[in-house]
């Protein structure tokens, strides 16, 4: 640790990196996962199963586009169904990557270094999955470009007073900036792969992608400057994205949506679900690929603590929503909360409280911080709980608003579930492709870590 920071850092005592590693051994270990000629059998199994779901996704999208959005369960009064629930859920998952790579970089948290690369990749894939939903929800996705301002012959323009247009800009900016940040981080590692690859084809492909990177001191100097600036830009961006997503709800006047607590509460929820997804992926991966030396128990413990902290903010959000429903004295707000807790969808609310608030409280026990199976179980609970939270916010608020004559019930159709399962498959398939062809841990940052650890021990 930095000698200037005498206070205890999270996870003190557990190593960030198992001892005995050198620049060479780290390079060889991480690049061999990509450059090996033999793809492990579990890769084929995982990718194969995920690819079946990709086909389900393609089938469902084709059906919805060619027949129409009537295949989804949406109707009046619940005009926003699974598509919006899933969109918000996936965007939230996408928040951990940028948080780990940008905010933890600015806070000089060295434990981010072995998890940032695949967390960033996870962000990209999660945002890609999220982007599918509003597109197919449009009904006529081939007109999606109408959302952008351009001098069209129709003489009309998008409405910049609407949060839905803000959303288009927020999500597309977020995807672009995450992609640039991720690729900039990859360039030195692509050069490593170029130099280590033995086949002509991989050497050519990695060589083209590395763009002639040669590790020059002047290049590194500019690179570090740009990397830090991108981190500084991505930090407010990541906070803004879910804030804008929450405006989609908060700017509307539906009880259960129209609330000023939404932006911070959505951002905390996004980080919460994002860390849960990173843990869900990291725990099996480090075992499958034997990366316990790099992704140590300390990383898992720290992510568990971040989950606990953000979970408490989310709990505060739930508490305040309930309190304000009572304190406002507004009969519609009060009814909304009673309906949320004890109405026809009440069971969902209680499962979400159990999964998001009660079960993660077990993370207070120190002995459970290093229990992988426990962390995995909690992370999966949080993933499900956060999906239910969005369902409760979107569907349960809409299904009974002001006039009882306009009430109705909603349930997803087989196509709703098909697209959800399909995007999960797409996410896993992209993740496994990424692991197979690109280094899932940042090699050059691990070399820096070795260098720093050496400097302390000597």
């Amino acid at each position: 640790m930095d000698p200037k920071q005498p206070e205890e850092m999270p996870g003190e005592g557990l190593p960030l990196l198992e001892p005995g590693h050198t620049f060479g051994s780290i390079t060889d270990k991480i690049s061999s996962i990509v450059l090996t000629g033999r793809t492990p059998r579990f890769w084929y199994v995982c990718f194969g199963v995920a690819f079946i779901f990709v086909l389900v996704l393609l089938f469902c999208i084709a059906a919805v586009v060619s027949i129409g959005v009537g295949l989804f369960g949406v109707m009046i009064p619940v005009a926003w169904g699974f598509a919006i629930v899933n969109f918000v859920w996936w965007i939230g998952i996408g928040h951990a990557g940028t948080l780990i790579s940008a905010i933890l970089l600015l806070l000089r948290q060295k434990w981010r270094q072995s998890i940032n690369r695949f967390a960033e990749a996870m962000t990209l894939f999660a945002v890609a999955c999220a982007g599918i939903f509003p597109l197919i929800h449009l009904g006529r996705p081939w007109f999606a470009y109408w959302l952008f301002p351009y001098p069209s012959t129709m003489g009309i323009q998008p409405q910049f007073r609407s949060p839905l247009v803000w959303d288009v800009f927020a999500v597309s900016t977020y995807f672009t900036v995450s992609l640039l940040f991720w690729f900039l981080g990859l360039i030195p590692d692509l050069a490593t792969l170029r130099d280590r690859a033995r086949g002509r084809v991989p050497r050519f492909i990695y060589g083209m992608l590395a763009m002639g990177w040669r590790g020059s001191a002047q290049h590194w100097h500019r690179y570090e400057s740009a990397y830090l600036l991108l981190a500084g830009l991505a930090t407010p961006l990541v906070v803004s994205v879910h804030t804008v997503v929450s405006f989609d709800f908060a700017v509307a006047m539906v009880p259960g949506w129209h609330s000023t607590i939404f932006p911070p509460y959505f951002v905390a929820g996004a980080i919460y679900s994002g860390f849960a997804m990173v843990l869900t992926i990291a725990i099996p991966l480090r075992r499958l690929y034997g990366l316990e030396d790099f992704i140590t128990l300390r990383h898992l413990k720290n992510m568990g603590i971040v989950m606990l902290a953000t979970g408490m903010i989310v709990a505060y959000g739930y508490l305040m929503e309930t309190f304000m429903a009572w304190y406002s004295g507004d009969i519609f707000e009060k009814y909304m909360m009673m309906n949320r807790m004890f109405g026809p969808y009440g069971w969902m609310y209680w499962i979400l409280i159990l999964f998001n608030i009660l079960i993660p409280q077990l993370l207070w026990f120190r002995s459970l911080h290093t229990n992988e199976l426990f962390l995995l179980a909690v992370a999966i609970c949080v993933n499900i709980g956060m999906w239910l939270e969005r369902y409760v916010i979107v569907v349960v608020s809409l299904h009974r608003d002001f006039m009882p004559s306009a009430w109705g019930m909603y349930s997803g159709t087989i196509f709703d579930y098909g697209v959800l399962a399909g995007t999960l498959g797409l996410f896993v398939a992209l993740l496994f492709l990424f692991i197979r062809i690109l280094p899932m841990i940042s090699i050059f940052e691990m070399r820096e870590l070795v260098h720093n650890e050496e400097g302390q021990s000597s």
Partner: protein, 185 residues
């Protein structure tokens, strides 16, 4: 343990390259080369080494300025894009709100500021570094492929005013390098 490569032909060289086994030795070697009066040189390392760019006399980078320009362009351009759309090109009365309802334009202005600044940062650093550059003479040194693994290199270019094949070679050997190599152009 200096193992010099015999220079086979007398074609003008790109420069001479020394290999080091640790970042500290590289910084030390680079500093000594700078003190000896060499200016046209570059150091190569598998990860960013603190103080290395300064050791070869490279202090300032224009990256922050480029990012600032990108951010300002995104901010001003983003706001006036919305102003032009909402006030000039497609004025439409929404609930009696003013056409230039600027508070609603802030989120998109903010996003475009970040977007342009990030694009300028990414393409700016590539442009300043002269990348993509598929060919560079340093790749002619066989050992140089270790520059992306665990070795550190210092290359003094023949274009330097003080470059002298024998003197520079002797100088590099005395810096405690593992080996000195001629870099073919």
């Amino acid at each position: 343990m200096a193992e010099s490569t015999v220079i086979k032909n007398q074609l003008p060289l790109y420069g001479l390259m020394a290999e080091f086994d640790s970042p500290e030795h590289l910084v030390d070697g680079a500093r000594r080369a700078f003190d000896a009066g060499y200016r046209r040189m570059d150091a190569y390392s598998p990860f960013p080494v603190e103080g290395l760019a300064e050791a070869i006399g490279f202090h300032h980078t224009r990256v922050p300025l480029i990012v600032l320009i990108g951010g300002i362009l995104g901010c001003v351009g983003g706001f006036f894009l919305q102003y032009w759309v909402a006030v000039i090109d497609y004025p439409i009365n929404i609930g009696g709100r003013p056409l230039n309802s600027w508070p609603s334009f802030i989120p998109v202005t903010f996003e475009l500021t970040i977007l342009l600044a990030a694009l300028f940062a990414f393409f700016g650093v590539l442009a300043l570094n002269g990348l993509p550059m598929p060919y560079h003479p340093v790749f002619n040194v066989e050992r140089f492929e270790l520059a992306s693994r665990n070795r550190f290199f210092l290359c003094i270019e023949a274009a330097d005013a003080r470059f002298d094949l024998d003197a520079t070679r002797r100088f590099l050997e005395e810096t405690g390098s593992l080996g000195t190599y001629a870099v073919e152009p």
